[in-house]
């Protein structure tokens, strides 16, 4: 099942290029905003699923409306540090993750606004994102961990480089609008192997990133086991699995970005920079080489 949230706050299931409105399945869930509604929806999705499927079977397919992020404001937004081998034969790096501002999320066809901060460059980072469906702590590093997920979606972890104090800037990933997310949450039963997904990202139709989740250093279940050994996961949390840095490039004013994970969906966004800064176009080869050297020395 592919679950979406429309800009007018209807909950839908994708079908035949359109959507069936299943909002009625969730009328008993009290909420104030889409932000606090979706975690509650996702927490109960498994129980409501038979009813939703009936609704979809008997429902009318509507043209797909404009969407917002399927979790417009995750309770937590968690990101993995560089988690791909990227062609190196290094030992696995020490596992590490960090939190980003949950207020950085925007939806499909949203606009990333580059802030007036002196970043050395703004990069796109296409990533597989995990959406948590139940409270979880100390998950095992095997398939049981997947039971804590409701599904998968696409994320672009927009990253301002060269800000902040220490090493790789984390703060540069938390600006408002810096985490486009969506379009749909694809439930785990539709993804037979999360370690065999093809991720691509193009800027103005020029290919940039192109990699497989087979290349992850720490698998999805290892990521879930690791992060849940630190903190309790709650429904609606979004965990981004890291990117393959071979193929990163600059984002700048006017760019149109399209990211696809085969079997998961296509997420589009545009870029606005009130300062109209310019960087070289194309793949950032320096960045790519720097990443391959990590751990090799």
């Amino acid at each position: 099942m592919r679950l979406v949230l429309t800009r007018d706050d209807r909950i839908g299931v994708l079908r035949d290029g359109g959507m069936v409105d299943v909002s009625d399945a969730f009328v008993d869930i009290r909420y104030r905003t889409a932000a606090d509604r979706m975690p509650r929806v996702l927490a109960t999705l498994r129980d409501r699923r038979p009813g939703i499927e009936e609704m979809v079977a008997g429902g009318e397919t509507l043209p797909l409306p404009e969407l917002q992020a399927p979790v417009p404001r995750p309770p937590k937004l968690i990101a993995a540090f560089g988690n791909y081998r990227e062609g190196s034969d290094r030992e696995r790096q020490t596992q590490d993750m960090f939190l980003e501002s949950p207020d950085s999320v925007i939806g499909p066809n949203g606009t990333v606004v580059l802030p007036n901060h002196p970043a050395s460059i703004f990069h796109h980072e296409a990533e597989l994102a995990l959406v948590v469906g139940q409270q979880a702590k100390d998950l095992p590093a095997d398939d049981r961990a997947l039971g804590a997920l409701v599904g998968y979606t696409c994320a672009i972890d927009v990253s301002a480089r060269g800000l902040g104090r220490i090493g790789p800037s984390r703060i540069g990933k938390s600006f408002d609008t810096f985490t486009p997310l969506g379009p749909a949450i694809v439930t785990i039963d539709e993804v037979p192997d999360p370690q065999d997904l093809h991720v691509t990202l193009a800027v103005n139709s020029e290919p940039r990133q192109d990699y497989s989740t087979r290349d992850m250093e720490y698998s999805v279940v290892e990521i879930l086991a690791f992060i849940s050994s630190y903190m309790t996961l709650v429904p609606g949390d979004v965990v981004m699995c890291g990117t393959n840095h071979q193929g990163l490039g600059a984002l700048q004013d006017g760019d149109q970005v399209e990211m696809t994970i085969a079997g998961i969906g296509t997420l589009e966004m545009s870029v606005r920079d009130p300062q109209r800064r310019e960087w070289p176009r194309g793949v950032d080869q320096d960045m790519a080489a720097r990443q391959r050297a990590v751990g090799a020395s």
Binding site: R30, Y31, R32, D36, R40, P75, K76, A79, A80, F81, G82, Q93, T94, Q95, D96, M97, F98, L99, E100, S101, P102, D103, S104, P115, N116, H117, K137, D157, S159, R161, L163, G164, R165, I166, G167, P168, S169, R170, I171, K173, S174, F175, D176, S229, Y230, M231, T232, V234, G242, H245, M287, R290, Q291, V294, G295
Partner: protein
């Protein structure tokens, strides 16, 4: 005014005679979705609620503090934003570059609660006593003049920190995000009672022994500047918490059985207990090596820049 969360997530005002006057019903009119909404709702509507809160305090009849169970005033903050080292600590260095990180807002500790040390192979678990700012309204791109308008109040905070985990070693930020590692108490003091947040004294005592003891006058960047910077990055919401960083001179280990008292003058004091199933032992007293390391790193900021992890 002192705003407390107590007993089974009730909200109240702590009066000057140290009684707690219940105000939960006043907040319930806003139909909170869960107990985590009570405090943000009170903050959002504080201007309207204040006359009635004051009337109730004047009327008296509250419950003595010792008869209630104070909780963390913030049961589940929408964001916890922490400043990286933001004190001069006796150095004469130039201002460091501003930087911050986000801390997990799950499983917050409050007065009398127990911090659980995880089995992870940390070098040490440190206390970091701090002043934290509680945000009063939605805010983005605050300028220096209006920054303080976005403040609701202040709370004492302990930023418990596991060292040496993850990829960046001593600078591990995930080591600060274990469940129970964010501790707030004993209540929120509204900003009108703290005319100058840069003259507060902060102490941490472990088992009666003084560890941290410093003044917020030593902050590299004062509160308004922190707010201006943070709100240039991310939208702030009522109930978001900004932790202003610690002075590392006086850090020390936390271990099984410890009682840790965090005090901010003019705000209040709260005690944490520590449990470690593995009963690991570290040297007691102040960790002077950690203090010196922070001073040295700040004098030579380049020395701490390379991190083996590359970019995220």
């Amino acid at each position: 005014m002192r705003i407390a969360t107590f007993d089974d997530t009730r909200i109240g005002v702590v009066a000057n005679d140290d009684t707690v006057v219940d105000a939960t019903d006043l907040v319930e009119q806003f139909e909170p979705l869960g107990p985590e909404d009570l405090l943000p709702d009170l903050i959002t509507h504080f201007g309207d609620l204040r006359p009635e809160l004051e009337r109730r305090v004047t009327a008296g009849g509250g419950t003595p503090l010792q008869e209630v169970h104070l909780r963390s005033p913030l049961t589940r903050p929408s964001k916890i934003i922490c400043l990286m080292g933001n004190y001069r600590e006796g150095t004469d260095r130039p201002l460091q570059i501003l930087d911050l990180f986000f801390k997990s807002p799950e499983k917050i500790s409050g007065p009398g609660d127990t911090v659980i040390l995880p089995p992870h192979q940390a070098n040490i678990f440190h206390h970091e006593g701090e002043i934290a700012v509680v945000i009063g309204r939605e805010a983005k791109d605050l300028n220096a003049e209006e920054a303080m308008d976005a403040v609701f109040g202040y709370v004492a905070y302990n930023d418990i920190s596991a060292r040496g985990l993850g990829r960046s070693g001593i600078n591990s930020f995930l080591g600060k995000s274990f469940d129970t590692f964010a501790a707030f108490g004993p209540w929120i003091v509204t900003k009108d009672e703290i005319p100058d947040p840069q003259t507060l004294s902060i102490t941490v005592d472990v088992n009666g022994e003084r560890r941290q003891d410093y003044s917020t006058s030593d902050m590299e960047r004062p509160v308004p500047e922190l707010l201006t910077y943070i709100s240039s990055v991310t939208t702030l919401h009522p109930g978001d918490v900004i932790c202003c960083g610690t002075n590392h001179q006086g850090l020390g280990s936390m271990q099984d059985g410890d009682a840790v008292v965090t005090t901010v003058s003019g705000v209040g004091s709260f005690t944490l207990h520590v449990r470690d199933e593995h009963e690991r032992a570290w040297q007691r007293g102040i960790d002077r090596e950690a203090g010196e390391r922070v001073k040295a790193a700040a004098q030579h900021p380049v020395a701490q820049a390379p991190v083996s992890g590359g970019s995220a």
